[in-house]
Symmetry: C2
Subunit: 425 residues, 2 copies
């Protein structure tokens, strides 16, 4: 089976590579027209897509998936319109391919141009959310990359419907159809073959839960950009504006708990007024959030809140809940907060709420994460919110790209050197 | 043994991480003064270093190493001066750390600063050439990274002498000594532990032969930048200036055959004048180059040259000789040349010699390599020649960095977001 699957994946990759060569010849105008075409096609096909999505939702409900999971899977007219709008935004963005980032003219007359080029063949391995199918395909296409999409089994009807619409659009526009391929073979082994297809696939981007990311990182021979696991914190400093802290915490936890930039732990400076702690946690409880707090937190609460709150363990501090659950810990000072984030954080998004400029500066420079915030919600870690038009993922590692990855992060560069016979002395 | 070695490597990494935190607080001025201090110290200690190097050379001669290998290992007053001068050049270069590459002020008032930061702990695994010890340490130091150096066994006396000089200099300047650590444990298993120390080491850069690179890439769990394997080509097009082509080929092959940017194969357009082919290959033979040519090449030669030249196999085309050996192949056209490079090349440096602008453009855009040349020798793929002041390696992969890697390539970035209470709507 392994050899068979290897051959299947190499065949996909081979078609992708051929498509990538054709993509490299397309002008930005042709690519942008195609993106508008894709947007229209998605709108026109929304009924088929929603129908397919209902099949996936029905199966997930039957399988007993929690609501947070269903939310990630669910499409609606509004979400399809969001995807279509995203495509139009991508069309408006500058094409990074061919941009010369830097020119050096050497004393010997050599002209060295650092030129942005596509990676070639990019594989995206993801779970649940079908909008990733559109985002990944569009961002890869705009940057001249052919994409191999490996979505989750749970979203396969939705992903197939979306991919069929996109490929049909490319066909009608006489564009290389294999620029977008969904790998629909169900075998789990597909992922292992994708991440080991060194020399066939230029880059793998896993998007999903901790287990998927870990599996890809452990097994990969193809270069990988790790994305998405977000065990994010808000640290409320002694001098924080309490009303601001409350709004930021509530927003970062509850506005969309199923995504990676939602927070999982609140760190509270020990000198914060107990009445603020009570108000904050009561508000979270009233929003339906399950609270797991350290002993020091519980000591600050009334009997009523204490009964509603369980004692937090290190497991809780280490968990990306992706749900309406939050861990709370009282810390002695900024240093203890930094230590906690270093121990439990996943280098995604970390925020401090403080009115003390020195504390803010220390936090922003010492926290090792893709995005560090002063007095703002972690929910802004997002390609759209950063003005990238869309995102292929949020990198939580340091190589190549960090944080929201847009068009530029889907390109690499090469040096084009123009001479007149120069040799090295 | 494995657990013991794991603990040893984690202890090295832990010290490195602590040093890295201290490095982050140093001003560019302090770092640059330290670099000048290192340069002086190397000059002052040249006798000890040369003495240590002689031990390594003697062992290598005794071990029957070929001259190309000895050349890579050998130090001289001139090479030490070159290293010292390199340090002074690095001191003069701009410090990338803290540079804000991009600022976005969003409609909601959020200020998003894309800020250059060090990786943290960088491990460099290398072979033979002891100058890598200085280059790697200096580039890492200037960019605020602590470095773990794993040099080749064959250069260990040289590397120890150089590292001792650098650490003693740091000690006398009250700088964190563990910013530079040479891992002198001889066990081969050290490399396996280094490349699997995920979470302890932020980046691994292997520099060396194909076997080392392959071993690191196959076994790594830490992000890796592949460097250095250079199966490079010069393609002489139909319209090439013959004198220019001859100089470029001879320079690219013979000026320093033991390094990765030297060429290994010459591709000749079939319509080139046979007298040019004869002249070119006679010149190479007279330079002491062993020539292995395809049948079509042999047909173009006189009897005398034919006897001196053997028939090339696919193995020859696939080999990075790193020696005075060259493979030669006649191709029908540019397309066949591109196909050959795609099949046998290692995405390092590739050159075309032509007077035809269209051929040049096609070659420069279609060849997938870190550096592509028109009418120049591949020997320029080098951090100094590119004006980077030094190089940590030449990347032959596409993620993060391609081609010569200098200071900027040893940093990553993080987004620093400053708000005034913004939450996501």
């Amino acid at each position: 089976m392994t050899h068979e699957m290897e051959a299947v994946i190499k065949e996909y990759a081979h078609r992708a590579k051929q498509a990538a060569s054709a993509l490299a010849l397309l002008s930005p105008e042709v690519k942008n027209q195609a993106l508008h075409g894709l947007a229209e096609a998605l709108r026109d096909s929304r009924n088929e897509i929603l129908l397919a999505n209902q099949k996936d939702i029905a199966a997930a409900v039957k399988g007993g998936e929690p609501e947070s999971r269903l939310d990630r899977l669910r499409l609606s007219e509004a979400r399809i319109e969001e995807m279509a709008h995203g495509l139009q935004m991508i069309a408006k963005l500058d094409d990074p391919v061919g941009v010369v980032d830097d020119v050096r003219i050497q004393h010997n007359g050599l002209v060295i141009e650092k030129t942005r080029v596509p990676f070639g063949v990019v594989a995206v391995i993801y779970e649940s959310r079908p909008n990733v199918t559109v985002d990944a395909a569009a961002l890869a296409f705009k940057t001249g990359n052919a994409v191999l999409l490996r979505g989750g089994k749970e979203a396969r009807h939705s992903n197939e419907a979306i991919t069929n619409v996109m490929r049909a659009t490319f066909q009608s526009l006489h564009l290389p159809v294999d620029a977008i391929q969904l790998i629909s073979v169900l075998d789990r082994e597909v992922v292992d073959q994708l991440i080991q297809a060194r020399g066939y696939i230029d880059l793998v981007i896993p998007r999903g839960g901790a287990a998927l990311i870990e599996r890809v990182v452990q097994g990969a021979r193809v270069p990988v950009i790790e994305t998405g696991v977000g065990n994010c914190h808000v640290y409320v400093d002694a001098t924080a504006d309490q009303a601001m802290a409350e709004e930021i915490v509530v927003n970062a936890k509850t506005q969309r708990p199923s995504v990676c930039n939602a927070i999982e732990t609140i760190l509270l400076h020990e000198s914060l007024d107990p009445s603020f702690v009570r108000r904050l946690l009561s508000r979270l409880l009233s929003c339906g959030v399950e609270v797991r707090a350290c002993e020091q937190t519980l000591l600050r609460l009334g009997e009523e809140e204490q009964t509603a709150i369980s004692l937090a363990t290190d497991d809780d501090f280490a968990t990306e809940f992706l749900d309406l659950i939050v861990a709370v810990k009282v810390v002695r000072d900024l240093d203890e907060a930094l230590g906690h984030i270093e121990r439990f954080g996943t280098k995604h998004s970390e925020a401090i709420v403080t009115n003390d400029a020195a504390s803010a500066q220390t936090f922003l420079s010492r926290v090792d994460a893709a995005v560090v915030y002063h007095n703002a919600s972690t929910r802004f870690t997002d390609g759209f919110e950063f003005g990238f038009g869309a995102e292929i993922g949020i990198s939580t590692q340091k190589l190549h790209a960090r944080g929201p990855m847009g068009l530029r992060e889907l390109t690499t560069y090469k040096y084009v050197v123009k001479g007149s016979g120069q040799v090295r002395g």
